[in-house]
Symmetry: C2
């Protein structure tokens, strides 16, 4: 049985979205249990409308809600130990919950998660992994904004973590991994990316297939299971894709309402448009996964709706069911155990 | 009268696309003159099919064509002084042509352009500017891949050059400029981006309005005329947007052919789909503009078709008609003249 801890105060709508979202996930996965952290006067009236969820959950009252515009330092100062966000993360640390889900602000959630859960041994920096819809299905893209910049070793850590997540989420034995780069031959991209490529090519003992470099237009094609990049470029890629999808949706809407012929066409093809809308739905992939910490935290979009929050909870269930954290730890230990003697040999040879 | 020098051997199809593309641009702008550089046996048979273009152009035979997969160093070694690419660039340097257009490989074209034209005084690095279709019209985004990384001063140079291009292309007096950044509060983006933001805010004498930071999903909204970023993130943003547009087009196509109702709907709405296709057409914005060199060079997509190459030529005409190079030079001189005394004062105060 999996237990999910929820920060009911996170997101633009707080409990009005989080609680119905959890109820929706419970309908589809009746075995799940929840611990809901939030401000009593705001949460209980909503929770009472969902008796099944109420029966499957424990409510814990908190005094403080981290606001969407709080800076991480502010959030830590006022919300540590006692905010709903902190409490939900802490439930993962104590083992009461298997995974934490919050739609609260990313910076605060990451700062608190790092402070409370700490990074795994052998990992310097956590990463945020996004689930990216592709023509072939889904890929995992990381880091999409936990930190700016990454050296070669950190890119390798991201590769190992992303591959473990792909095994858990997609069930492939040896996920393919690509490094995001730019194709202009003259400059051949960043030094760190090239160095990471060399190291990955040599680390054949890892349970992943290193594919080589991929470019921005390969993301949507789904040519690899995992795309690895540092957080600045990754965040810009993610948001650019979201923005482009919204832009095209807006073009499509205005094209389909311009003439009576188009309107009739739209009526006939309504099911097809519905399918397309679902394909393009940013809620589908809702849920950034924080990797590299001693516990799994899922970040839902702050502006998501009930369906989107339920999707984020379900991403968390997938991660917990597959015991992602332990698998990542084992893979990283393997990598560093194999790498240390190799480095020692290399140094001895100098 | 504007003269355009063409590298007829550039692009996947070479003269078979370049020459008909030039003919198409000539139909729309009958005043333009061309100098066409290429391998005689491959160009003349195509050129003969376009008597109007033949009358409006001079053909110059070359022995060497730079290949699409040549590395920049290879291209320089074998193609300097005598390839069609080099000759077309050189025509800008000598003043015979006002602008050069090539669909050849980006790395080689940039390497040769830098070698032949040299960077402007006060400019360390050239940039590639893309014309980005937005919900409001078009924006300019730079750098989309000339170099990896940029310090604050280079980001300001990009801002000044991009603003000059926006004045030329969009006819706005004081273009709005945004710096591409990521919104995660905790890390607040790269130091160089923040520093550039501070400097731009202070440089009120520049003919541009500094808007502040923008994120990846703001690109398609068109909230600023010019978006400035370093080349790695810029290239990834550009290619991610192109890839996402293709991905959605593919979803749309399969949705519209799945059921008979959808097919009937498609028939009725065909005009609307045609409009949408034109809006999403990557050929519309075809033409990366190399900025910061002593001469304007336009890079067309290598895989473009006749219509796309004509669009690239027309971007070049816009740039030449507005004497973009001189305007950029004047703006940069102004900036550096105003900045040097300010720096001296700041240093004296220390």
């Amino acid at each position: 049985m999996i237990t999910v801890s929820l920060d009911a105060m996170g997101g633009d709508e707080g409990p009005a979205v989080v609680i119905p979202g959890a109820a929706k996930a419970l309908e589809r996965y009746p075995d799940v249990r929840f611990i809901i952290y939030g401000i009593e006067s705001q949460c209980l009236p909503v929770l009472e409308r969902f008796p099944k969820l109420q029966a499957a959950s424990r409510f814990e009252a908190c005094e403080i809600a981290v606001r969407m515009d709080d800076k991480p330092s502010q959030a830590l100062r006022k919300g540590r130990w006692r905010s709903s966000m902190w409490k939900a993360i802490e439930a993962v640390k104590s083992g009461e919950a298997d995974v934490c889900v919050s739609a609260g602000n990313t910076g605060a959630l990451m700062a608190m998660s790092k402070f409370c859960l700490r990074t795994m041994a052998n990992i310097e920096r956590p990463a945020i992994a996004a689930i990216w819809p592709t023509l072939k299905g889904e890929s995992i893209v990381l880091d999409v904004g936990a930190t700016v910049g990454a050296d070669a070793q950190q890119l390798i850590d991201f590769s190992v973590m992303g591959a473990a997540m792909a095994r858990a989420l997609f069930g492939v034995k040896r996920p393919t991994v690509g490094l995001l780069n730019i194709g202009v031959e003259e400059i051949k991209g960043q030094e760190e990316v090239k160095e990471a490529g060399r190291l990955l090519r040599e680390a054949k003992f890892l349970d992943l297939d290193y594919h080589g470099f991929v470019e921005g237009d390969d993301l949507g094609k789904g040519i690899v299971d995992v795309v690895v990049t540092e957080g600045f470029a990754g965040n810009i890629a993610l948001k650019t894709a979201e923005g482009t999808a919204r832009q095209i949706a807006s073009y499509l809407k205005s094209a389909m309402s311009r003439t009576w012929r188009a309107k009739i066409g739209y009526m006939f093809a309504r099911d097809a448009f519905q399918r397309l809308k679902e394909k393009m739905d940013p809620r589908r992939g809702n849920g950034g996964v924080f990797l590299g910490l001693n516990g799994i935290v899922i970040k839902s979009h702050g502006g998501t709706d009930v369906e989107g929050f339920a999707a984020a909870v379900e991403v968390g269930l997938d991660m917990a069911r597959n015991d992602l954290r332990k698998k990542i730890e084992a893979d990283l230990n393997l990598y560093h155990a194999r790498r240390a003697p190799a480095l020692a040999r290399a140094e001895a040879a100098i």
